[in-house]
Amino acid sequence: MDGSSKNIQFSWGKKRSKGGAKMDTQFYGSFTFDNVKYSLYDCVYLFKHGEPEPYIGKIVKIWEQNQAKKVKILWFFSPDEIRSYLSGPVVEKEIFLASGDGTGLADINPLEALAGKCTVVCISKDERNRQPTPREQAVADYIFYRFFDVGNCTLSDQVPEKIGGLEVNDLLNPKDEQVTSYPCQDVQGVDQKLGAGLVALLPQSAVKMDDENLVTAVTPPMSGAIPLPPAVKEDGKAKVAAVSLPPAVKEDDKAKVAAVSLPPAVKEDDKAKVAAALLPPSVKEVVPKPTQNIPKRKEKVHSEKMPSKKLKLSQDLTSQSMAPVPEVKVRPGPLELSTTQAVDRSKWFEPLPWDEELLVADEDGRLVYIQNLDIQFGASDIVELIREALQLSCIAQPINHPTYDDPNNGKAYAVFRSRKTADAAILKINSGLVVGGRPLYCSKGLLKVPKSSGALVGHLTITNQRMGARQREEQKKAVSTSHCSQPNTIEYDLALDWMLVREKQARKFSILHKKHKEERKSFAAKIGK
């Protein structure tokens, strides 16, 4: 929230060799930054100033020299970046590893520019590449099997011997299957006991850890695990982490099982990821990777693909950003609740992303639709209202549609802890709860809203069989390119028709809503007598 760069958590991990002309450079194999452990050859996101989409790269060198921490990043290219050199089909989630020599192969960046990790799995059939399991491939953020030579700008699926002086083996899939606490698609509902049990283990495990790595690894749950009272008292920054962690804690349920069975196989080396590598088998928990879980889960919910992923990522990490990290939108996604709720909510359950939450709650009979609120009430105001008036806790969000809903009547969805409390709430509110002179009323369940038809009413199409496919494509592009309509076109006249219609509409709505406001006022005055 505030711009000052308070101390972002950082600690070095494995030391490697020393180097540099004056032996003043220390190379490392891993480090923990902002409670995320990064190791050599991990795939990461970096934001470039002014660019909306993050770049993806692989850490190939980590060092510190003269107090400056640097990483060398080997780049991946997105299909868009090399569109003109691409031919043929592009696989879903495909990116391309840079190879060859020249600009664009790799760059040195300050360590602080890192914005999180991602998983990139290599699906090349080359014998040097460990073939990924179907699950690995499915949960991976990206895949690659082709290389883009930055020197001659060519694409190839032949695995080169070396890239940037590094053996290609180091750059392909790590030898062990990554045991990561990825969200399992089928984890529904929340096992509160499990979550509590997980949390209960944390204090002891923190004490047991004497290894430097382990301590840093455990701090994520420590600082973020809301159920622990100390964490709750932390400043606002922790709250942000708090919002992101509870889902992570939930995710761990499944991953826990996997982790416990894997310890023998896990080698404590840089390659193995946080989750598996650090914990001795006796500690039955998996260190969550908050930044990973949130993007994946949110990604499912949002129709926006990359942008929402980036938003979540940036929220988790850059809300405490230091100067080098470029300015990235730091605010909750459209369907999330305000972070001020974090402390309250987290006390009793780890909430799902809002849309999913609505569906689940509706099925459980815990969803209440409240109307006639003051439209100025924000989410936290509504929660407070329910608490004060009914002594019940819930999560809520105002849901008015800015274009069409009557601003005299504020609407909201409230999700309660149990069906009983929801029923009780409905009864009480309907029986006569009046807030600021407004009698509220409510009902159970989601409103049935039709799915969008796909195209906007008013977007016209020209059908002409005689056009070739290419001409049709060009025309589609020309039509769909955004522009200001020019007066010398047919389109302009048609557009003006629309502007007229909507102006009339706007007036009609404004007259109606004003009338409603007057009606309410005079009515209230009348009954006041």
Partner: protein, 202 residues
């Protein structure tokens, strides 16, 4: 206590600043993505973020809408002015989008309203105001129904217009195609001769 009030006020002040530099765009095609919006507005503003409005309450097929946060207030004003004075088309023609300055109540994640005085009042059967409150409730419900009726009416009007425009567009297109054909296969010369007119070919 004091600090949390201060913090709440500051939070709201930040929020208000954000509101000032955000614009609300509607009459958007549901096919439009945030990338498209960013590209479209790049001529007059740089977009910091795009948040699409999810429809929870209107039980009809309505156009999409989004809250677009720009870099600063002046850009917001420029964008709103541009889209008010000229038909601005995003992702499909000819229906233009509409833009207006955002209002606090449009943001579903808005922070707590500092001026909030929660006057909670219970009115039960037997209280003198009971009847009145019930009537107010009925009024509110009726008003909402009226509102929805207007929404339905508007959407139907829009469908009408779209149909009309599509028809006339198809007709125009046919006409132009026909002309093109005639010129191409030379029949126009026959017609010119028939009607005793001189044609100058370029």
């Amino acid at each position: 206590m004091a600090t949390s009030d201060e913090q709440a006020e500051k939070e709201y002040a930040d929020f208000e600043a954000r509101v000032k530099r955000t614009i609300y765009i509607d009459h958007l095609s549901p096919l439009v993505t945030s990338q498209v919006i960013k590209a479209a507005l790049s001529q007059c503003a740089s977009v910091a973020s795009v948040e699409f409005i999810v429809n929870y309450t209107i039980q009809y097929d309505i156009p999409a809408a989004a809250l677009v946060e720009l870099e600063d207030e002046s850009q917001a004003k420029a964008a709103v002015d541009l889209m008010r004075d000229f038909p601005f088309i995003i992702g499909g023609m000819p229906r233009p989008v509409r833009a207006m300055h955002a209002k606090p109540e449009m943001f579903r994640d808005r922070p707590s309203w500092p001026g909030l005085k929660m006057e909670i009042h219970w009115v039960t059967e037997g209280d003198p105001e009971y009847d009145g409150m019930n009537k107010l409730k009925r009024l509110a419900k009726r008003q909402d129904a009226e509102n929805m009726a207007l929404v339905k009416n508007q959407l139907e009007e829009e469908k009408e217009l779209a149909m009309q425009q599509q028809e006339s567009l198809d007709e125009s297109y046919k006409k132009y195609n026909m002309l093109e054909d005639i010129v191409r296969n030379g029949k126009i010369d026959n017609l010119a001769r028939h009607y005793d007119m001189n044609l100058t070919h370029d």
